[in-house]
């Protein structure tokens, strides 16, 4: 081969690999309606990427819609969707890093109002017909919101990162990610009435069939990871189940529809009866190379929904299991699915 041919060959090199197409497939997003038998999937989205979304899974057809909000409103929902609460015929979407709560019609998902003024809201708990509390990651406050005017009407000073809340025995119980207490607030006075020592990293709280509250704590600051049971009437901690070692990290505590079985994530999905005397040793659903990020139990059918965030930078996948733990099927949701709301 003479030099000129060699050079000509080299000059052709750019053509060799250039057969990859970079244009993505167009996405068809039509507004979809949510029916009475389905599941909203809360897709957190990436921090600062503004790609939070709410997926909808139709239990009757087995079909999933990636996002209800953007097609219905022509604009994305916001940055980091932490939670969704259904109340009085409205859906309340708490969008953490957008500092807002978006009120939607749960059927067509059109936004009807936006409540602003938050620093980094996490969860919304209705505490009366037209009143709700919103926990905050920063600012040492729980916000009081009027649901009639959709505006913030007050603050409750509560130190640290407040997280999930529950209303029981006429009191509001507020978990705290950065402190080792569950704070008790009187919704009549909107003031902290008491605190109950648990472990640090309290993140989720549910009420069981006996009216007792269970709190999942990740531990930290010298306290172990733990599940704690609280009597909301006496404001006493009745039982503590400490996890061996500090690497455990129980969270996403959920309860079955009958209130007799607890589920939580700790890597895999774990299941525990409310009368059990010890923590489960083995997972109910093993993680098996997945990154479990969200957990929910269907209150009617007992089906367990567990979300795999995969690498947190693509659509997550939701796996469905029967109440006995047998795999059923799976479907794709949005980015970083973290929670489920059943209707």
């Amino acid at each position: 081969m003479n030099t000129r041919k060699l050079i000509a060959l080299l000059l052709l090199l750019p053509a060799l690999p250039a057969c990859r197409k970079d244009k993505p497939e167009p996405r068809e997003e039509q507004p979809a309606a949510a029916t009475d038998h389905g599941v909203y999937i809360i897709n957190e989205g990436n921090f600062n990427w503004g790609n939070a979304a709410v997926s909808w899974y139709n239990k009757a057809t087995g079909q999933a819609v990636e996002d209800l909000y953007a097609p219905a409103n022509g604009t994305p929902l916001g940055d980091v969707l932490q939670s969704m609460t259904l109340h009085n015929g409205n859906g309340y979407l708490v969008v953490n890093n957008s500092g807002k709560v978006v009120v939607v019609d749960p059927d067509n998902f059109r936004a009807v109002a936006t409540i602003t003024g938050f620093t980094s809201p996490r969860y919304l708990l209705p505490v009366g017909n037209n009143k709700a509390y919103v926990s905050e990651m920063q600012g040492n406050k729980v916000r009081v919101v009027d649901l009639a005017s959709n505006s913030m009407i007050g603050d409750i000073t509560c130190r640290g990162w407040t997280e999930e809340m529950a209303l029981a025995a006429g009191k509001v119980f507020i978990t705290n990610e950065s402190r080792k207490y569950v704070y008790v607030v009187d919704p009549g006075t909107d003031a902290v009435a008491d605190s109950i020592a648990v472990s640090s990293g309290g993140n989720s709280i549910v009420e069981d069939a006996n009216g007792k509250l269970w709190v999942a704590c990740k531990g930290g600051g010298g306290t172990p990871p733990a599940l704690c049971r609280i009597n909301p009437a006496t404001l006493q901690k009745e039982a503590t189940f400490n996890f061996p070692g500090s690497s455990a990290s129980p969270w996403r505590l959920a309860v079955s529809g009958d209130g007799n079985t607890l589920y939580f994530l700790n890597g895999g999905v774990f299941r525990m009866g409310i009368a059990d005397n010890a923590l489960p040793a083995l997972p109910f659903i093993a993680e098996q190379g997945r990154n479990f990020y969200g957990l929910g139990t269907d209150p009617q059918e007992g089906t367990v929904y567990v979300a795999d965030a995969i690498d947190y930078t693509q659509r997550g996948r939701v796996f469905r299991y029967t109440a006995e733990g047998a795999p059923m099927d799976d479907f794709l949701a949005g980015r970083i699915p973290g929670g489920f709301v059943f209707r």
Binding site: T3, L6, I7, A8, L10, L11, L12, L13, P14, A15, P17, A18, C19, R20, K21, D22, K23, P24, E25, R27, N48, W49, G50, N51, A52, T75, P76, G78, D79, V95, N97, S98, G99, K100, T116, Q138, G201, K218, S247, A248, S249, L265, N266, G267, Q288, G289, R290, N291, Y293, D308, A309, I310, D311, Y312, T313, Q314, R315, R317, R335
Partner: protein, 656 residues
Amino acid sequence: MRCVAVGLKRNTWGGALRLPNLLSCLLLCMGGATFAQQVADTLHLGAVEVAKPRLAAFSAGTKVQRVDSATLARYANADLGTLLANETPVFVKSYGLGGLATTSFRGGSANHTAILWNGINIGSPMNGQSDLSLIPMGVADAVSIQYGGGTALWGSGALGGSIHLENKPHFGQGLQVAGGVAMGSFGENRQQLHGECSTERSATTIGLYNSAAANNFRFTTGQHREQRMPNATFRQYGVLLGQQLRVGKADRVGIHYWGQLANREVPPTLQQELSTAFQVDASHRVMADWHHAGATWGTVVRAALLDERLDWYGSADSTAATSRAQTLVAEAELRLRPAGPHLVDMGVNGTFAEASGAGYPKGVRQGRQALFALYRYHPAKGGFTGSASVRQEWQDGRSVPITGSIGLEYRMRPWAVLKAQGAKLYRLPAFNDLYWQPGGNPGLLPEDGSSSDLGVALQHRWKRWDLRTEITWFNRTVQNWIIWLPGPAWWSPGNIMQVWSRGVETDSRIVWKQGRSTWLLGAITNYVVSTNQVAKSRYDEGVDKQLIYVPMYSGNARIGWQRERCSVTLSGTFTGYRYTSTDNRDFLPPYWLLNARASVRVLENSRWHADAFVQGSNMLGAEYQVVMDRPMPLQSILAGVGMRYSRPNKTKLATP
């Protein structure tokens, strides 16, 4: 015609006819023309082999882009990120004017580019990367970009490429003072002053710069409202001091200081209601060096102390989250030039870094030692140059896999040079990867891999025409690629990905003189496929998909005209799809930017000259985002004046 056929065939495979393909095809046609004259030898930079910088002496076979002085002058008011984005194939992930700007070099990540200031790697030991918007172009009077793996030459991190900023000595030039002021859209204003006083023995430099902008450009929000960008002000100022002395005929010693303070507000994303965050970056960098260049041997000893601090404030009344790192670097090289075509360099490097801050446990520190040996073979005849390098590094006493490279350069014809290089690569995890609390993983392994380059550089001078083109094909694999993923309790890094990057770069330029005018036509095209080859988790749909924020196609083209005291440059850059999900389903659309600049010499005499300029960016008002939900400005203008005063010594000696 042959190349046209290839282009059409490729388009049949690839779908729609695209501009990058057309550009490639055009270049192929250019390449098919007969180049029959002499090419300037990019290797033979000077006779004194012993005094050559490491980059010039031992990088045979790699593509090195030296930014010429006219281009540097055009970017005197800009930062390194802007220069790279407009003048090179390097993709710059920019959060906006003054905001964080990082590189993706040939499909690599931000910490796969080594940035060296006078031979010292100034990348942060905390996150392993450099913010290009914190490097104003005024801090260097020479900038070179080396493409491809260079960890054997430059140490950990130079996987994708390396950028070399230098303050060159200018002995015997007398008094030189240069200054400039510029003002532009959105409250942008910049001032710089650079003075140099030199005799044949001594050169003293002082530089001052200041830049600020309200940066309150108009943009359309996610709710389709138009508003001005809030909380986006930045101010940056700094000082450069330098003293170089020539001792005897063969020795030179120098000391440089570069101090800088930047205060930047962090604007909200399109999805944030507001942002009150701001950050303060302060750095002090001192380095000293001694160069000895004898007839058969030479030595370079350099030492540097780098201190950087980052204070992050959530709001004006919150306390700062502070991270601080100090790095001490000492390096010595011995260069031997025995008889014949051989050049040998042996060196030792010691780097000690420590960091403090709320995110680190107390006393985080790291010691690294490296031995390296470099060799060049360059016979006087035959047009052949080969270089080889090997490097062994130890981190806190543990050895890192040995790395090395081999490069070959062969002048096949007076107008054609063939280049080839192969290298083994590595990158040590940064402090954040290892020690951040919570999540840091002290058990991380270094990233390692290998790369190969093949290229051809052609140059043809004919009458008033100067044509040159360089085409480079590259291939790189990196194992143990570190990414952060959420764990059960917090995010934590792991040696998770295996990334295969490959592609083609072209860089072409035509200069011709027509009467009193000089015209320039240039084009850079870039095709990068950079894919993760292993599943990060069981149901990962991202295998063999393009990495996020790595455009597969990008390029730029420029046309310039110069006549006596006037010059006009028009340049366009194209950035193709960038995916924002690892399954390549979500993306940011491609964008074109058109920039223009005109300058005129308004004063010129034996001592003084002054130029006035006006430049427009994004002249067509493209709405685009480089980073998702971070809108960028529409049209903007910057205008200013640059002046230079020169009073040469009565007896002037040539710079060695």
